[in-house]
Amino acid sequence: MGIPVKLQAFEGPLDLLLHLIEKNKVNIYDIPIVEITKQYLEYIQDIERQDLDIMSEFLVMAATLIDIKSRMLLPREINEDGEEEDPRQELIEQLLEYKMYKYMSFELKDRLVDAGKSMYKQSTIPAEVMNYTEPVDLEALLDGITLTRLHAIFKSIIRKQSDRIDPVRSKFGRIEKEEVSLTDKIGYIEAYANENGEFSFRQLLERQCGKMEIIVTFLAVLELMKIGKINISQEYTFDDILITAVKAA
């Protein structure tokens, strides 16, 4: 794949971050967010056309860094214990944990090499002897299991199954397409205006059924005004709106 980060023996964000921290020779307790973000984005630009998965993971990390950076600019949040919360803390803790496991993985590697020097021996027992199984003793197997117990188990399974049903989502209905189109409504109002010459906006709304129809009617009126097919006038605020058809010259 030739991704530069892969060549440097690391694979992803935390590794990359560690690498950048090392490069900057700073304590992770004092991550210079701005500098790292900048270097980070440079990295992303380098691998732009590479693996989408890695790309998106990088973006998550970049977004986290920018989030932290912007929160640093705001007044510190105070938690329940009355302590100032450092937005970097979470990332720092995550990094420290990662650093520890990385360190431990090197410790383990040494042991792997060492333990690898022990040689084992194949079993010399014939397979048919090893594979011997005693016939199943059902009485012993079912010892203590009564019908009542079996019944209780079944009941709890059914209960668990119904627990798995999401009470909120399971009640969602189907999403249905609203059958009100703006074009149709424009045509309708235009015809209505030509027929009536002058009419009340309120009366027009009263003829509509449903929230969606009212909204589309309102949008249609705005559209007709814009293209100069109708004029509107209103005497007082909150008063009814009078719509007049513009007679074609």
């Binding site: 079912l142 079996l150 399974i157």
Partner: protein, 189 residues
Amino acid sequence: MEIQKLEAVIEAVLFAMGNSVEIEKIAAVIEHDIETTRKIIHNMMDKYNAQDRGIRIIELENSFQMCTKTEMYEYIIKIAKQPHKHVLTDVLLETLSIVAYKQPITKLEIEKIRGVKCDHAVNKLVEYNLICEVGRLDAPGRPILFATTEEFLRSFGVQSVEELPIIQQEKVEDFKAEAEEEIQLKLDV
């Protein structure tokens, strides 16, 4: 190398190789001539005769091999033949109860109820002769239907599956309502 170290090396080599090893090879490893090597191994063979050893070295033409002492045979057979313990795990019990109450039932239906794969559990129950195949469902793929066996009835002391305590459909509905209520209560808090 000291003699003890040489013996250790030979023991390790014979153990790791498993099969017979030519004396030339052993001699090369310990960097001694063949005669000396043979003497060392013969000396080791005497040591292996001790009461507390279960293995020995045998000589075959110009090779040596490590193996167990013949009198150990009965114990080795005993350990190899130790029955693999059969246990009804929770998973097996759950699967069994589903088959018992919903039979005849396909694997897929069991998986739907349990929410996880059940191949292993179904196979085990078939092996224990507690459930068996009773036909195929007339559906795409013609999946196998499972039901409880006569052995199952005998083991639980019932005459027929109709005698099993029944969970009525209403009961299931009750559970659902209950669960929903509980969640509603949590949401209200």
